[in-house]
């Protein structure tokens, strides 16, 4: 199997050093592939230059859809489809529709936004994540730099990473099989070869 050594992985132990490092590297024109952290690090997205999340807009859009659906459903059923006199109220008694309209707004908004999050971030039960270093979900911040996308040489980048405070600098490559990220391959590898990397010490 052919190995492609194309990522440089910097391991950071502290969030503030990480944020400063990201800023310093980007100033020097280094293109960072992505940073992986065990918990949300504030200001990291600003340092990486990401645009603000569009999730609030998704929430608003789905919420507005929920409000519309709730009002239309209730008004149509109570006012047009089968009008009934209940307690002498008008057929379309708006104050009575408020609670359900509110609930459906929240329901649509929450599910729509959560769905947008999972779909847009490509999170699904059968996803095979590309993991640079398993410690990324434990106690280390992992910075991946794609060597092919940067004009600086590997040695220069390594020196730069160490200069900005990386505790370790490693190489990481994904095999062609890993890159394809087929769930079937992932499961069969897991059961034939066993777990090959873990944040904990492997026995034997």
């Amino acid at each position: 199997m052919e190995k492609n050594t194309n990522y440089l992985v910097g391991v950071f132990g502290d969030q503030d050093i990480l944020v400063k490092a990201v800023k310093a590297l980007r100033k020097k024109g280094v293109k960072i592939y992505e940073v992986f952290t065990p918990y949300p690090v504030h200001f990291l997205e600003d340092a990486l230059g990401y645009k603000r999340s569009w999730m609030p807009r998704a929430a608003f859009g789905f919420g507005a859809l929920g409000t519309t659906c709730a009002i239309l459903l209730q008004s149509w059923i109570m006012g047009f489809e089968w009008p009934m006199i209940i307690g002498g109220k008008g057929f379309i008694a708006i104050p009575d529709f408020v609670p359900i309209t509110f609930e459906l707004t929240v329901l649509f908004s929450a599910f729509g936004m959560a769905g947008s999050f999972f779909v847009s971030q490509d999170l699904k039960p059968h996803k095979v994540p590309q993991i640079f270093d398993r410690r990324q979900s434990d106690d280390k911040h992992i910075m991946a730099i794609d060597l092919a996308k940067n004009s600086l040489s590997e040695d220069e980048l390594k020196a730069l990473l160490q200069e900005v405070g990386a505790e370790e600098v490693n190489n990481k490559s994904f095999t062609e099989r890993e890159k394809k990220a087929s769930f079937f391959d992932y499961v069969s590898d897991l059961f034939t070869k066993g777990v090959t990397d873990s944040a904990r010490e492997l026995k034997g």
């Binding site: 918990y39 089968w82 999050f117 904990r200």
Partner: protein, 475 residues
């Protein structure tokens, strides 16, 4: 740089590092269950099966198995429903309202509290379903579907239907909120797995989450908005539950104070249940450094405050009944205090209004066995509150010839026991297979800089931090 506060205790004590957090929370998930866990599970399953037998018997033979009579047509069923829903509210309060208020002490208890919410709402939802007598039809009647005998629909003017929407929205939104919070922690367990099956199962549960900065950015936005949505949602749910009573014209129910009073009561009983569960979990899972004495004190104080709000509501209700000049209303309240159910009323008063006042004394709100005892007293009191509102308002109706005293039957008791069995079975399963503390959130409040572990937390915002130590935001 961290600002060390002189007035507050640290959030996480014991000089824990990030690695320690992972180890401490993952250990129970990765290790074999203890004997105590098996014992607890066996007891819960016994309660579930024993109660389930009586519940099945009730479903087969009808709700005549309960002690309902001519006037008391709602008793333990709806009491249990309101009680369980109320308990659920604390979880959302901790995870949503305290998130909006940036109360960082919530991070170590929110996971378990949200789990409690979900299990309590499941237990609650059982009651309106089974009390319909024929739930296999009733479940369909409650949905907005045209029925087969013409286009007759559900009644959107009825608070009972609002309740269907409120409870199902509350349950499903809480579940989404809880799951989204769990995803990063499942990823931690996945990355620590050393065997294929846990790697596969926790991998699927973590949805392939890899902690990239971009995903975290969207994740943070989603959590914050879900918190913003859940806050009015949790208030609306118990408001609508109270409207089940308040919109009817039964003396003792027909009062406008019900919504705020029910919401306060819900938070009150919910925090008491969080205390009951967390004091045990903390001890068994050795989480004393995460759920510290400060957490327990904070929760005890919330119990005292909400208990006092509830106490004021009881008195207000009574005064307004007198002030209204409506003799039926006045009779309903005097009858509560001095009628056949005086014992229930005064148990409620003693448990809910008087008992939580003890937490004004620092010695008592830091005494764990005592807090545990009070948390149970409060839960008993809140059950009596719902019983008093429901049964005493019904048992004296307009026709004295039909006045009867409600006596629960064994089926009433055992159906209630069933929900306890269900609740504890679910909670124990959660405590074994899920991370009981939100690792990612606890890590985010622990500042570990330059390998020196600071034992205090940051309590002052970034603006006050000296220029040189500030985290750069601009680019």
């Amino acid at each position: 740089m961290q600002i060390v506060s002189k007035v507050r205790e640290p959030l996480v004590t014991g000089g824990k590092t990030y690695k320690d957090i992972t180890e401490d929370v993952c250990r129970p998930v990765e290790a074999n269950p203890s004997k105590g866990w098996f014992g607890g599970m066996a007891l819960s399953l016994f309660l579930l099966l024993a109660g389930g037998y009586y519940l099945g018997d009730m479903l087969w033979n009808g709700i005549g198995r309960w002690g309902l009579n001519k006037t008391v047509q709602w008793a333990w069923d709806i009491t249990n429903f309101v009680w369980w829903v109320g308990i659920g509210h604390a979880g959302t309060l901790i995870s949503a309202v305290l998130l909006l208020f940036r109360q960082k002490w919530r991070t170590s208890i929110n996971r378990a509290a949200e789990a409690m919410t979900i299990f309590a709402v499941i237990c609650a939802a059982i009651w309106p379903v089974v009390h319909m007598g024929r739930p296999w039809i009733g479940g369909i009647w409650a949905l907005p579907l045209p029925n087969t005998y013409g286009s007759l629909w559900v009644n959107f003017n009825s608070p009972l239907l609002w309740d269907v929407f409120a409870i199902s929205t509350y349950f499903s939104v809480s579940l989404v909120f809880w799951f989204i919070g769990l995803v990063p922690d499942f990823a931690t367990i996945r990355d620590r797995a050393i065997k294929p099956i846990p790697r596969l199962i926790y991998g699927a549960l973590s949805m392939g989450f890899n902690g990239s900065a971009k995903t975290w950015m969207h994740y943070e936005a989603v959590s914050l908005i879900l918190a913003g949505l859940s806050t009015p949602l949790v208030l609306s749910v118990h408001t609508i539950v109270s409207m089940d009573f308040a919109t009817s014209v039964i003396p003792g129910w027909h009062t406008t104070i019900f919504p705020p009073y029910f919401v306060a009561g819900a938070i009150f009983s919910g925090f008491a249940m969080v205390l009951t569960l967390m004091l045990v979990t903390r001890k068994l899972y050795k989480l004393e450094d995460y759920i510290t004495m400060e957490h327990i004190e904070m929760m005890s104080l919330v119990v005292t405050i909400t208990g006092s709000v509830v106490g004021i509501a009881y008195i207000t209700e009574f005064v307004i009944a007198w002030y209204s000049g409506v003799e039926y209303e006045q009779y309903a309240f005097v009858n509560r205090m001095t009628g056949q159910y005086w014992w229930a009323y005064w148990s409620m008063m003693a448990c809910n209004v008087i008992s939580p006042q003890v937490f004004y004394v620092k010695k008592l709100r830091t005494n764990i066995p005592f807090i545990f005892f009070i948390s149970i007293v409060v839960n008993i009191g809140m059950w009596f509150e719902r019983f008093v509102i429901i049964v005493t308002s019904l048992h004296r109706d307009y026709l004295p010839s039909s006045w009867l005293y409600f006596n629960p039957t064994i089926t009433d008791v055992m159906c209630y026991v069933f929900t306890f069995g269900l609740f504890f079975t679910l909670f124990l399963a959660f405590a074994k297979y899920f991370p009981v503390v939100n690792m990612a959130e606890v890590k985010s409040v622990l500042k570990d800089s330059d390998s020196k572990v600071y034992k205090s937390r940051r309590t002052i915002s970034n603006e006050v931090v000296p220029e040189a130590d500030r985290v750069p935001v601009d680019l």
